[in-house]
């Protein structure tokens, strides 16, 4: 194990906490998981947190934010969240999972009637009950490795969530995962999800991230998806946390042949919300949809980082991110589509559009296409602008008051991202949330 003397204070603090907790709190009964944690903390000690002024973290000074949580116990359980019933977003029939500070809360979850063979459990339990699935999946979504945050998450993740949908199984209802993060003073939580959809299966997953309690919470979360041949996974992620929170999230998805993975994120609330999506269509004829909506006001910051890594031929990806910034908020979009040399006949589209409502809000957008194959169709683009004055006047000239006119235009602007939510009842809930945020 690395000598901690050479580490910077922030990294050293984590390594020391890890050593103190090693063996009893973290590992459950599974030697494979223990080994993964050990190599993860070593990797974290080696790569550390992203350096200041790194290109990938240009606009979000994440080291300073982590340092503000120095000394916070990253394995503390935190307080009880109390009743959770009103917090779910998917109306009607759904399987419900509650995660409190990264721990699977089985008592609060409702999983009756899951088809046989489907596993929804903590990662520690999944690792021992489905060792062959765990061994081929855990940490397998990003072969080239991510930055230090993912390693940190692997080293510390508390129980986490393991979902396995076996071959040919269609989950008729969505699974909503309610992630509650809270503390009395300061919390540092590292939820982890491993989702494995085997050949020909299908599933809908909704991640619903919420805060509770008075304290400020730093979340470092990782959601991994393995989508096997002919499987279809539909994923919606909503972040609606307190303004004091910092939320760093890694979505990593690896797709096999002829599979479909659709993901859309909605950022409605949070202090700093950094989302890093890495999508790897790793076999032919994959279909990938990556969409996002972000709203930020006050001094909030929303930073979306995406990489669609086309490594194989005949795949298609569509990416659309849209956002609204008000107050002194900052938005960042850094989206890259990489088409490797073997990925002939790739169709890849990317677009980012933002509306800035105030003089002081800012948007930094950097769409990137990097193409090494010669027979592909790709496009990308980004625009940032204000609300259209002519459109605004047109609505007002029909008697519509300014706040309502603004709402109509912003709803129209955002509409196509919300349209990607296939569950109509959920979409209505999300649109209602948007309206509440914009029409206060």
């Amino acid at each position: 194990m690395t000598n901690t003397d050479s580490l910077k204070p922030a990294e050293r603090g984590f390594v020391e906490f890890w050593r103190a907790a090693d063996g009893h709190v973290l590992n459950g009964r599974d030697p494979g998981l223990a080994a993964a944690r050990r190599s993860a903390i070593e990797r974290f000690a080696e790569v550390g947190l992203p350096p200041e002024k790194s290109e990938a973290w240009k606009y979000t000074n994440i080291r300073r934010l982590v340092e503000a949580w120095a000394g916070t116990d990253p394995v503390a359980e935190g307080p009880d969240p109390g009743p959770v019933d009103g917090l779910f977003l998917v109306p009607g029939d759904a399987w419900r999972v509650v995660m409190v500070n990264g721990r699977f809360d089985e008592a609060r979850s409702a999983l009756a009637g899951l088809p046989s063979g489907v596993t929804v459990a903590s990662i520690a339990e999944g690792a021992s009950s489905r060792p062959e699935v765990f061994a081929r999946s855990f940490g397998a979504t990003r072969p080239e490795g991510a930055d230090g945050f993912v390693a940190l998450n692997t080293a510390f993740a508390q129980s986490g969530l393991f979902v396995h949908v076996p071959r040919g199984t269609q989950l008729g209802r969505p699974i909503e995962i309610l992630f509650l993060s809270g503390s009395e003073r300061r919390g540092f939580v590292q939820p982890r999800v491993l989702f494995v959809a085997d050949e020909g299966s299908s599933a809908r997953i909704v991640e619903n991230w919420r805060s509770f309690g008075e304290g400020a919470v730093f979340t470092n979360a990782v959601s991994e998806f393995l989508v096997a041949r002919d499987a279809a996974v539909d994923h919606v992620r909503i972040v609606d946390e307190h303004a004091s929170s910092v939320h760093v999230h890694y979505l990593q998805a690896r797709q096999l042949g002829s599979s479909t993975f659709s993901t859309v994120s909605f950022v409605f609330g949070g202090g700093t919300v950094r989302s890093d999506a890495y999508l790897l269509p790793d076999a032919e004829h994959c279909e990938t949809h990556l969409n996002g909506f972000y709203f930020a006001r006050g001094s909030a910051q929303v930073d979306n980082h995406t990489l669609v890594d086309h490594a194989r031929p005949n795949c298609e990806s569509n990416e659309l991110y849209k956002g609204i910034l008000d107050g002194q908020a900052t938005g960042v979009f850094n989206g890259k589509v990489l088409v490797r040399q073997d990925a002939q006949k790739t169709n890849a589209y990317q677009s980012n559009k933002s509306v800035v409502l105030s003089e002081t809000a800012r948007m930094f957008s950097k769409p990137e296409l990097e193409i090494y194959a010669d027979d592909v169709k790709c496009s990308h683009g980004a625009t940032t602008g204000r609300l259209d004055d002519d459109a605004f006047f047109y609505l007002r000239a029909r008697g519509i008051p300014p706040a309502k006119a603004r709402l109509l235009l912003l709803q129209a602007f955002s509409g196509d991202v919300f349209e990607t939510v296939r569950d109509e009842a959920l979409r209505e809930r999300l649109l209602a949330r948007l309206e509440a945020l914009l029409y206060a």
Binding site: D388, Y394, L395, R396, R398, G399, I400, A412
Partner: protein
């Protein structure tokens, strides 16, 4: 109903004065036409009356139903019963016609102390009024003006007017870009909406429209002033003679 007194207005950005003292009184039920060459200030007058940004009124007054119109916000003017049919209707991608009209109609109704229309009544009214200007009822699912032809956009303006039932409608070059059939449809729609207590201000470059929407009064705007007023025969005269004789007369006077 509308009383414009000595109205002066300039473009805010450049400071160029466009309206140089307009006087006009419109009584309930009257149709007034304003004609004039390009650049005479016709569209500026429409914009100032509707409350578009970018213009500054430097002198004069406008009262609408005894209220100071210039003090009102654009949406307040509309709720008070003023309607502007735009020369260039704006496309609103993602805003459906039905949502747009529902918001507009209900804003106006609430202001008049009327209840919101039920969905059934609203859709029935939409269907009925769309027929005034031969618009396809399936338009309710479409985005406002998006992908509409030039003629459809103009018909859509009149359709909106029919839905909102204004007290005073200003038609800003509604005839521009219309072929003769579309012009007839638009004019029929307008004529259907004429009533004893609804007035119109029809702004046009050509008298052609006035063959179909027959005005009670015709005013000629040149250089930011009304230089001549008369009955509909004045429009016919302008059609034959052009604007030059009026310019000369105005200079001579």
């Amino acid at each position: 109903m509308l009383e414009i007194k000595n109205l002066h207005a300039r473009i805010e950005e450049s400071g160029t004065e466009i309206l140089k003292g307009i006087d006009l009184v419109i009584r309930p039920g009257e149709v007034h036409a304003i004609m004039g060459p390009n650049g005479s200030g016709k569209s500026t007058l429409a914009s100032v009356l509707a409350g578009r940004e970018g213009y500054e009124v430097t002198d004069g007054s406008v009262t609408f139903d005894r209220k100071d119109l210039l003090e009102l916000e654009p949406d307040e003017r509309a709720r008070e019963g003023l309607f502007l049919a735009f020369q260039y209707p704006v496309e609103l991608p993602g805003v459906s016609m039905s949502n747009f009209l529902r918001q507009a109609v209900n804003s106006v109704r609430a202001h008049r102390g009327e209840d919101e229309l039920s969905s059934v009544d609203f859709l029935r009214t939409m269907k009925e009024k769309a027929a005034y200007v031969q618009l396809d009822p399936s338009l309710k699912q479409r985005s406002v003006n998006e992908g509409f032809s030039g003629g459809e956009k103009k018909r859509n303006e009149i359709f909106q007017m029919a839905m909102l039932e204004p007290r005073l409608a200003i038609l800003d070059e509604t005839d521009s870009g219309l072929d003769i059939d579309a012009l007839r449809i638009v004019a029929d729609g307008v004529n259907r909406l004429r009533s004893r207590d609804r007035s119109f201000l029809v702004i046009t470059h050509y008298q052609r429209l006035l063959n179909y929407i027959v005005p009670d009064f015709v005013h000629v705007l040149v250089g930011g002033r009304i230089v001549k007023s008369g009955g509909r025969e004045l429009a016919l005269h302008l059609e034959e003679q052009g604007y030059d004789w009026i310019r000369e007369e105005a200079v001579g006077a």
